[in-house]
């Protein structure tokens, strides 16, 4: 799963949100690293909806501005869950290997 898609799902995990809300949430949740602009956002939303991971929650028209709110589907939630597990596993495996590398280095330094 590529990063913008991951963060969009994450942004919608707690509660439904509209286009600009999702853009802001993605930026905040990724600590400013991942930003999506409007066209990329909607391309991603199209894809996620096609895969059944998100769906439209409701529409609101305020002052002539139409906002469509999206929410995570159950399938979307479980897909995100699975991705979290995968990333967690990857992270812990790498952390483990790094710990061993450091341990080896310490041992070598100590032996001199």
């Amino acid at each position: 799963m590529h990063e913008p898609g991951f963060f969009i799902l994450t942004a919608l995990a707690q509660q439904p949100s509209h286009g600009y809300g999702v853009m802001r949430a993605v930026s905040e949740l990724s600590g400013g690293r991942v930003t999506v602009r409007a066209s990329t956002l909607y391309a991603a939303l199209d894809r996620l909806a096609e895969d059944g991971l998100i769906t439209v929650d409701r529409e609101e028209a305020i002052d002539g501005r139409l906002r469509r709110y999206y929410r995570l589907t159950d399938q979307g939630a479980s897909t995100l869950e699975a991705e979290v597990q995968r990333l967690r596993h990857n992270a812990s495996v790498a952390a483990d290997q790094l710990r061993r590398r450091n341990a080896v280095r310490l041992a070598m330094v100590g032996a001199r």
Binding site: Y20, Y42, D46, T55
Partner: protein, 362 residues
């Protein structure tokens, strides 16, 4: 949602196809305006680029699925071939004057008289109607060919001497090359936009299996004069190829997207009219691939050769007419119901079987 910024964004959104705008434009416009800092009158450059790129991607992307992508590839490639042949037809220099050709040949062959000056002939091995047999209709004239009866001396020597004579007369002459597989020896020379090639056969044909009496007349020395491709030809060829590729891609993507959104009856009609077009396209693609393979293997990939061959690509006649008719029929069917999304619509929206959302007016 008025104001210069909204107007600019609305114009940029035109990059997207109409069916997409119908669904998405109000929402996207809101998001773009929400995201714009207050007081800004013009969209930032990044947005401009993004929206145009996004719109193009939307127009060019086939529906998801390997089948759709294959069809798109076949049609896009066919478009490229059509563009290439159109450019070639327009930009190819054509056959040299017979006089020019005979003069050039005379320089090469000194006092030899050609025993046969073939009228300009077409060369297209797999084009069904194009034969260079006497009496067959000739549709294109791309080179002048002259045939000589070689003296029983070593053919390579004759060819070499011709090359020397041409070089003396100011031609740029390539080396005499022997092709042991084809049992030929040839050289090429160019001057003032003319290209000349001289080919001799090294394998003799013997009369009555009498090994002491080879018959040189059976294997004439062939001299072919063509006009060299110019820079204009090369540019036109590239432009035609890329333009045709893009046009084919756009048409195919548009048609497939429409197909996806039509309901079953129209889909059947589209398949019925589209299948012959696809067949013609695939056959043309395969023939072109074969031709390219032959060219590559024979080492004949000179710009001149390519330009001439590209101009010969259009297979005129009944197949093309049939294809054109079905294309027209296909277009009629695809636009019949202008953009009403059917159950195949892939956008999230009220039609996707949700409880109908209420529109709250705040």
């Amino acid at each position: 949602m008025t104001g210069p910024l909204a107007r600019s964004y609305r114009i940029l959104l035109l990059a997207y196809p109409r069916w997409y705008r119908r669904e998405r434009a109000p929402e996207m416009l809101t998001t773009l305006l929400d995201a714009a800092p207050p007081g800004v009158r013009r969209p930032p450059v990044r947005d401009v680029v993004d929206l145009i790129a996004g719109g193009l991607r939307c127009r060019l992307r086939p529906p998801a699925g390997v089948g759709y992508r294959l069809i798109l590839a076949a049609i896009a490639l066919f478009g490229a071939l059509a563009g290439l042949s159109a450019a070639g037809t327009w930009a190819v220099p054509g056959a040299p004057d017979t006089d020019e050709a005979v003069t050039a040949a005379g320089t090469a062959m000194a006092n030899e008289q050609p025993h046969d000056v073939a009228a300009p002939t077409a060369s297209c091995g797999w084009c069904p109607d194009w034969r260079s047999d006497a009496g067959a209709p000739l549709r294109r004239r791309d080179f002048v060919a002259l045939a000589y009866t070689p003296r029983p001396a070593d053919v390579s020597v004759t060819v070499q001497q011709a090359g020397d004579r041409l070089a003396t007369a100011g031609w740029e002459v390539g080396p005499v090359t022997e092709d042991p597989d084809a049992m030929t020896v040839f050289l090429t020379a160019t001057k003032d936009g003319l290209a000349l090639s001289l080919t001799g056969q090294t394998a003799p044909v013997f009369l009555d299996k009498d090994l002491s009496r080879p018959d040189p007349a059976q294997r004439p020395l062939v001299l072919v004069v063509t006009r060299q491709a110019t820079v204009a030809t090369a540019i036109a060829t590239v432009v035609g190829l890329l333009g045709g590729l893009l046009a084919g891609w756009l048409v195919a993507a548009w048609t497939l997207q429409r197909f996806r959104r039509h309901h079953r009856a129209l889909r059947l009609a589209m398949v019925a009219t589209g299948a012959p077009v696809l067949l013609v396209a695939v056959i043309a693609d395969l023939l072109a691939a074969n031709w390219l393979l032959v060219l590559t293997l024979s080492g004949n990939l000179s710009a001149n050769y390519l330009a001439h061959a590209a101009a010969l690509l259009p297979v005129a006649g009944p197949p093309a007419v049939a294809a054109l008719t079905t294309v027209v029929a296909l277009i009629l069917v695809t636009v019949t119901i202008a953009g009403q999304p059917g159950p195949g619509s892939e956008l999230p929206g009220p039609r996707r079987g949700l409880a109908p959302p209420g529109r709250h007016e705040a």
